[in-house]
């Protein structure tokens, strides 16, 4: 284990399906104005497997999970 988990959502790719929010509601939120997903502080305490599942299932591959290896 080294460093913190980094979760990023590319706002240019995200289309706001909300699938990530359903999978990990503490880690993501859909921003009302832009309609795209934004990582939340809760991502730091969300299981890595759940974040990776959200990234795998994101239809536009907008989510990347890194760090904490």
């Amino acid at each position: 284990m080294s460093g913190a988990l980094r979760v990023r959502v590319d706002p240019d790719l995200c289309v706001g399906t909300g699938d990530c929010v359903r999978l990990a509601p503490l880690a993501f939120r859909i921003e009302d104005q832009g309609g795209v997903s934004v990582p939340q502080p809760g991502a730091a305490t969300t299981a890595r497997e759940l974040l990776e599942e959200a990234a795998f299932n994101c239809p536009t591959r907008a989510i990347t999970v890194g760090g904490d290896e």
Partner: protein
């Protein structure tokens, strides 16, 4: 390319039939749903709609339209709006012991699809039938690459758009435009605006990136959501019973569906896997690319065989061809396989019809969404549906798509399950 700039031939055809390869292809940004102009652009039968759009305009359109598919909206549909509408409508549609299940499925589904699309109607069976007739035309348009007579489909769809705009979209448009204007003047709260696709399109069409300045494009976009929300659900309802009727103990399966909503949802998701509404998806290579080690030249036709991919034994096990709603599948594989696509063009309404993913434990929490088709299948099962021994169902002969029905006669027996 021809002299008129129309792409009339493909450089080659590349087909994929393995689950993982198809999934990779669906995520490849070089493989586009924008086909030759002859198939999609002449006569504007699909021009500019979200499922054909590509790149920045597609993503921008999806961002505003996806607001209508959020979990809280789906729960509102499933728990408050749909059950009442569904049972009242079934009482009106099942008027004898012998009925055609296919139009029942279509009419059940078109009620909520119209609401989500932003189309107002009086709730009468006559108007629902009119909407279903229009949906049928739009469905033929969406499958024009598989149509046996594409020219006839173009004429049919153009006429359907004209009727749809005149009788449904314009009245709904005028009502919503007035409400939006009142809200913008500060005379009405935002919460009073309808929650539907037409409203969000009208509110955002000033944003040039959405490419919605053409009124016809708004009409076609609304038609797309009406059709998409009706057709797959209606066909899947029929296919669910067709698959159960073919099993050794259909009455046992129907009794389980009637008493267990999560089992009903597994039946629906297994049906979607075996009977994808789009059996083979097609893409055009906009640039040279490579998928699963195979080189695809620019302007190649890429055929993605969802039917085969959904029966990939390496993913769904040795019994992949069988109907087994209780099957276990690997993590990160949807029970419906590839039937709603994947990648940027994945069907936005997949959770409306098919519900949320089902955990391998078959245990769900109170926030779970079962999907409207599961509720429809359960409601029909509770009314004691059985095959009609005297009449044979007929498939839709106008298309090569084997999952489409023209009619499906059934009978209803007395049951204590309702």
């Amino acid at each position: 390319m021809s002299e008129t700039g129309l792409l009339t031939t493909y450089t080659s055809t590349v087909s994929f039939d393995r689950y993982e390869d198809i999934r990779v292809a669906l995520f490849d940004p070089n493989l586009s749903r924008t086909f030759d102009k002859r198939s999609y652009h002449d006569g504007n039968i699909r021009e500019g709609i979200v499922s054909i759009a590509h790149g920045v305009a597609h993503r921008a359109r999806r961002r505003v339209e996806n607001t209508q598919f959020r979990a809280e909206v789906l729960r509102l549909y499933e728990r408050e709006l749909f059950p009442k509408v569904m049972n009242a409508l079934l009482d009106r549609l099942i008027t004898s012991d012998h009925v055609d299940l296919y139009p029942i499925g279509e009419m059940l589904s078109v009620v909520l699809a119209a609401r989500r699309a932003g189309i107002d109607h009086d709730g009468s069976v006559a108007q629902l039938r009119a909407l279903v007739r229009l949906v049928d035309a739009f469905s033929q348009g969406s499958a024009i690459l598989d149509a046996k007579d594409p020219d006839a489909v173009r004429v049919l769809v153009r006429d359907a758009y004209a009727e749809f705009e005149r009788d449904y979209v314009r009245p709904a448009w005028n009502r919503r435009a007035a409400l939006i204007a009142a809200q913008e003047r500060g005379e009405a709260p935002e919460e009073d605006l309808p929650q539907d696709i037409l409203t969000v399109l009208l509110r955002h069409r000033g944003d040039a990136i959405l490419e919605l300045s053409d009124d016809g494009r708004v009409v076609r976009e609304v038609a797309t959501y009406l059709q998409g929300g009706t057709h797959t659900s209606g066909q899947t309802l029929v296919n669910s019973f067709d698959l159960m009727f073919a099993e050794p103990d259909p009455e046992g399966l129907i009794a389980r569906v009637a008493s267990d909503t999560l089992f009903a949802q597994r039946v629906v998701q297994e049906t979607l896997r075996l009977r994808p509404t789009t059996p083979k998806a097609k893409r055009r290579a906009e640039a040279d690319t490579e998928v699963a080690g195979r080189r695809i030249p620019k302007d190649a036709l890429v055929v993605l065989d969802f039917t085969s991919g959904n029966r990939d034994r390496g993913v769904f096990g040795p019994s992949a061809d069988a109907f087994d709603p209780d099957r276990q599948i690997p993590a990160n594989v949807p029970r419906w396989g590839l039937s709603f696509g994947a990648g940027a063009h994945q069907c936005p309404g997949r959770s409306v019809g098919g519900g949320f993913p089902i955990p391998s434990t078959f245990e769900v929490d109170e926030d779970h969404v079962f999907g409207l088709v599961a509720l429809e299948v359960q409601a029909v099962a509770r009314r004691g549906v059985r095959p009609d021994p005297d009449r044979t169902p007929e498939r839709d002969q106008r298309t090569e798509r084997f999952t489409r029905w023209a009619n499906y006669p059934v009978r209803f027996v007395q049951t204590a399950l309702r």
